[in-house]
Amino acid sequence: MVASGATAQSLCDLLEASTRRHGDRTALVSPDGSATSYAQLEQHASAIAAFLRESGVEPGDRIGLCLPKGAASVAVLWGAMKARAAYVPVDWQGPAARNAAIQRDAGVRVLFLGEARADVLREWPQATALPTLVRVPMGRTGAAGAFAAVVAPFPAAAIEWSAVLRHPPLAPDGAGPRGREQLAYILYTSGSTGVPKGVALTHGNALAFVDWASEVFAPTPDDRFSSHAPFHFDLSVFDLFVALKHGATLVLIGEELGKEPKGLARCIAEQKLTFWYSTPSALALLAEFGQLAAHDLSALRHVLFAGEVFPLPALRRLTEQLPRPAFWNLYGPTETNVCTFARIPLPIAPDRTRPFPIGPLCAHCDGLVLDEARREVAVGGEGRLHIAGPALFAGYFGRPDLDTTVFFERGGRRWYDTGDVVREVAGEGFHYLGRRDRMVKRRGYRIELGEVEAALQRHPELREAAVVALPDAACGVRIDAHVVAVAAPLSLIALKRFCAEQLPAAMSPDRFVFHPQLPRTSTAKVDYPALLRVSSGGGAP
């Protein structure tokens, strides 16, 4: 019998229950192949929690992680939650300035930093005190980002990882009473003004989703889950907490392997994975480059995808190569996690061209389709999907101004405007139609085009920059940057390098178009429709 989320007050209750039942079983397989048992994970997490308490961390504080995926990063996030603090993960290979901006925005008390990333610390302004630092060894991860050339020294005051783990474990109630309303983690996503925004989620939010997933997918301790998504991406919530709630094994896929389809196919076979969850982009690459036929993938029971629309030809190719598992299309923004779901009926008819629906609402979510004036739209009509229920996030961290733009009250309940335009079809649930703002999805990542523009506008040799996104057969969505150089056109190589230093890889423009000046509307605003015509080949720059 698995602990019901209905009685759990915290995600930590789930890990502790699994440890009591399955202490000797393998909780984690690290990217280097080493195994961590439930008892070891619980012990490390409790030692980290004790260290955090000793360092003055109070309930409600934030703990930062800039670490590669591995047993250490998993132990840190559990340790943070056991201390009743919220964990704040970032893309450890991401630009230093962006990572530092996120950790500063969250006001982290303690930062667990991979030893190769001391360059992140240079981005703290002198006036702001650095958080308490823990230096975490990374071993050979086989990975390096745009920071590869930067070797920054660690401050002498940094605490060694091994010293943290020597703390005697904190008891489950050692940080005071747990409650579902307490923050568990803050996931930062692209912000339209150039500043990432922190989606703050509570233990109750996560437990509502985890319990729903338990009901639908009924995992067992014999299951082996993939952990493909990085921890700052909300797909990881399923991997981390559903797998460990059920005493199953979570196979951590490192950042480099995650991008390498041939190696991923081998990993699914060798690790005998039963659950796979990732973006459609990763699965499409697996179908195209993974040589799936060369492997025995018969253990796989469920393939879940979320984060973007799965282009039908790629989905068909994948399901033809993997006819056994059930395929599930999950939909939901980070603010709610998954709120609709649908199983893909197989085989996919060869003449089908219509995308699959995102499906009906999950049992723990309520939904409304509303028009611009917030009037309810009848089944069959177009409108924006609004969600209510226990999975609804607490708010944007430190940004009540943003909260007022997405929340409203109706019938005594709080509703969230997803911004996603949908149509409900009787018997099928919702169909996703798109968005009316400047947010796009690429490789599962939410990208505010305004954030890309803000980064380009920081380039000293660019006078102006405007960015458009358009559909692309090869990569789903292409991002074109239209720019005006101060003097002569810049080297493309130099521009791309600048972007790699400023933006996560998924946000870097694919193409640059130089203009003497940007086209303007009669009200002197950038004429985006004109730029889109240029991008799609309908007009000269």
């Binding site: 086989g142 745009a146 590869a148 190696g263 480059f289 990569c475 080297s491 190589i493 870097s508």
Partner: protein, 83 residues
């Protein structure tokens, strides 16, 4: 070796850097850490190299440390063809 490097350069310029001057894409220009190739374009580049030079490149040979510039890739091609 120079011929291999030039062939790689021609492909990279045509495919990922249209309009860029060949002189700016040096043998040691970082391709991955410099933002020229992302994860998807890296796969395309690997597929091109395999096909054009008739070699098989293993996953562990395409890590960022060993596969980040034209010189790295040209050396890998030469090593593989020499076998």
């Amino acid at each position: 070796m120079d011929e291999i490097a030039n062939e790689l350069r021609r492909f990279l310029l045509a495919e990922f850097l249209p309009g860029e001057s060949a002189a700016n894409l040096r043998d040691d220009t970082p391709l991955r850490t410099g933002g020229i190739l992302d994860s998807v374009s890296t796969l395309k580049f690997v597929a091109f190299v395999e096909q054009r030079f008739g070699i098989e490149i293993e996953a562990h040979e395409t890590g960022v440390r060993d596969f980040d510039c034209i010189a790295d890739v040209a050396a890998l091609v030469q090593r593989k063809r020499g076998r």
